[in-house]
């Protein structure tokens, strides 16, 4: 396959956008529908990434690489989901402050374990040896194929979020988010709903973390910074917390702008790219979160479709 038209930077830029959109979609179900601010996105992502890496690299599997790869991937998803159930159980009856502590504390605990358990994770030195489960030729071709595969995974997440919006479960999430005591008093299982929400959401975040680790081929604790949570949050909030398309639009406009347009297509001095641009990127993301939440809390896309519909029906 001739991929000369494709820039290596473009592949990695698109890959970042796709992964962040995936995280944003999962965060949308938690923040946009159930109104739970998960500040520990990077923790679940890290659990998936490291579970996959350790299982794939350190375990001596009795069968071929492809099966070892798939089993490790499934295991990483399940472990991240279980971690999500644990955190969900922890924060289910806590208020906003408790959720902040619980999710942030979980992410910190994951970071600490990734650093201290050097025999398994490589600690600060990192863990190498991850690879694609196929080889179609050049590095670029392999990465391009991986980008397509991950895009398909994120598309599946999108379809899931889409279905949730149109399902009784989605309405239950909205009810719990809008008024939990009321939902409880109507006999809705708020606790179990939140548990399920965190279990599934975290499994997805863990899967994305594992897929991201494969593209990096090298796991380092520097992948576990708050910037991952920030990227998912800014994409979702910018695009619109209440809409399925919010994370997609926001991801393209925020991460896409910096990691594709600024990275490759703006005529900026080369020396800016090592430090000034990455710092400026985070600074603008922080600013964007503040401005959007102050002046247009639901982001670019605004209200949920059903709210718009309700208003148009009742204003007659």
């Amino acid at each position: 396959m001739n991929l000369d038209w494709l820039d290596a930077f473009l592949i990695s830029g698109l890959f970042h956008v796709v992964v962040v959109v995936g995280l944003g979609l999962l965060l949308h179900l938690q923040l946009g529908l159930a109104r739970i601010a998960n500040f520990g996105v990077v923790g679940f992502w890290g659990v998936g990434m490291y579970t996959f890496g350790v299982l794939f690299v350190k375990v001596d599997w009795p069968f071929g690489d492809v099966w070892a790869f798939l089993i490790s991937l499934v295991a990483a998803t399940i472990v991240a989901g279980l971690a999500g159930l644990l955190v969900g159980w922890l924060i289910a009856d806590l208020d906003e402050d408790g959720v902040l502590v619980g999710t942030l504390g979980f992410a910190t605990a994951v970071f600490i374990l990734a650093t201290t358990e050097q025999d398994l994770t490589g600690g600060a030195l990192g863990l190498g040896g991850l690879k694609f489960p196929y080889n179609v030729g050049s590095v670029k071709a392999n990465e391009f194929l991986w980008l397509i595969i991950v895009t398909l995974v994120v598309f599946a997440i999108f379809l899931y979020a889409w279905r949730v919006h149109r399902s009784p479960y989605g309405r239950l999430l909205i009810a719990v988010g809008a008024n939990e005591p009321l939902a409880r008093s109507l006999g809705k299982p708020a606790f179990r709903t939140k548990l399920w929400l965190f279990g599934v959401g975290s499994a997805g975040m863990g899967l994305l973390g594992a897929l991201f680790g494969v593209m990096e081929r090298f796991l380092a604790t520097s992948n576990l910074g708050i910037d991952v949570t920030l990227a998912a949050m800014v994409a979702l909030i910018f695009g619109g917390t209440a809409r399925v398309w919010g994370a997609v639009l926001g991801g393209v406009l925020t991460i896409g702008f910096f990691d594709i347009v600024v990275q490759s297509y703006l005529p900026l001095p080369r020396e800016w790219y090592s430090q000034a641009i990455p710092v400026l990127r985070e600074l603008i993301f922080g600013l964007a979160i503040m401005i959007v939440l102050l002046f247009r809390p639901l982001g670019i896309l605004g209200d949920m479709r059903r709210d718009k519909l309700m208003r148009s029906v009742h204003s007659d």
Binding site: V101, G102, G105, Q275, G286
Partner: protein, 292 residues
């Protein structure tokens, strides 16, 4: 328990983690009196370290002299964030959840903005190594003793101001019912600004003590934020006194576990897990009372 371990962890915990208590006092003031979880408080701590380092290296002031401008500047930044972000947010009726995320955005903004002012590399205070004083057989740097002393003084002053003075009465009145307080002639703006200033001073001083003990870096305050938050949420139910006591116990526990495990990170991990279980148990009890 081994007596040596006990005395060692007491001395190390009290002196090394004194800034944690100081930072927690400031955070708790904001939390209890304005009901706000301010994630950007971690940058007040960071900026305190930067301001201290900057006055120290630019004007050659010694560390003790630097504490005053560093505290005042951090206090002013804290007040500025109130006027720039939190006051408008309150006027726009932003919800609790959004307020936390806004303060998170502000935290990210300040953490990266300060790098354009103070530069990207890690910076250091330019101070002679502190004198070492032996307390109960443990060598303690003089800066850490000053940290402990200022924690003691500041907590007493804040405690006295809030519990005994007429200004404290106004602060408490404002915290419990803003409309009523305003009707009885309290100037809410003045009192609120004062709270933000004192909180900023406490955070900034904590930052300066953290910074002189190691290095001054953009993540300095953020690394402490989770622990500040844990101390305030767990201890805050019993008022400022509870925060101070919890902060001290946390410091001593961190020191004891670090000595025991030989690894600071394990001590932090154990502490995070312990506090989370505590919060969960408490929330369970609250949930139970809700069912009555």
């Amino acid at each position: 328990m081994d007596l040596d371990l006990l005395s060692d962890s007491l001395v190390i915990g009290l002196t090394e983690h004194a800034p944690l208590v100081l930072a927690a006092i400031g955070f708790a003031l904001l939390y209890r009196l304005t009901g706000l979880i301010n994630v950007a408080y971690s940058e007040t701590v960071t900026l305190g370290a930067y301001f201290g380092m900057w006055t120290n290296t630019t004007f050659g002031l010694n560390f003790y002299a630097v504490l005053i401008p560093a505290g005042i500047m951090a206090g002013l930044v804290s007040v500025a964030t109130y006027f720039a972000v939190f006051r408008p947010a309150k006027r726009l009726n932003v919800g609790v959840l959004e307020m936390i995320i806004i303060s998170f955005g502000l935290s990210i903004f300040l953490r990266h903005g300060l790098q354009f002012i103070f530069g990207y590399p890690v910076r250091f205070f330019d101070v002679p190594p502190p004198d070492t004083i032996r307390v109960l057989g443990v060598g303690v740097g003089s800066f850490r003793l000053v940290a402990l002393a200022s924690v003691a003084v500041l907590s007493l002053v804040i405690f006295w101001v809030i519990q005994r003075s007429s200004l404290g009465l106004q602060i408490r009145a404002l915290a419990s019912d803003e409309d009523l307080a305003q009707a009885s002639g309290i100037r809410p703006l003045f009192v609120t600004v004062l709270i933000w200033f004192i909180a900023g001073v406490a955070g900034g001083l904590a930052g300066a003590f953290y910074g002189v003990g190691s290095s001054v870096a953009p993540l300095l305050g953020w690394r402490q934020f989770l622990f500040i938050l844990l101390v305030v949420l767990v201890g805050g139910a019993k008022g400022l006194g509870g925060v101070i006591v919890t902060g001290i116990i946390t410091g001593v526990a961190l020191a004891a576990m670090s000595l025991q495990f030989g690894q600071v990170l394990y001590a932090q991990l154990a502490l995070i897990l312990g506090f989370m279980v505590l919060l969960k148990v408490r929330s369970r009890r609250i949930a139970e009372t809700g069912k009555v």
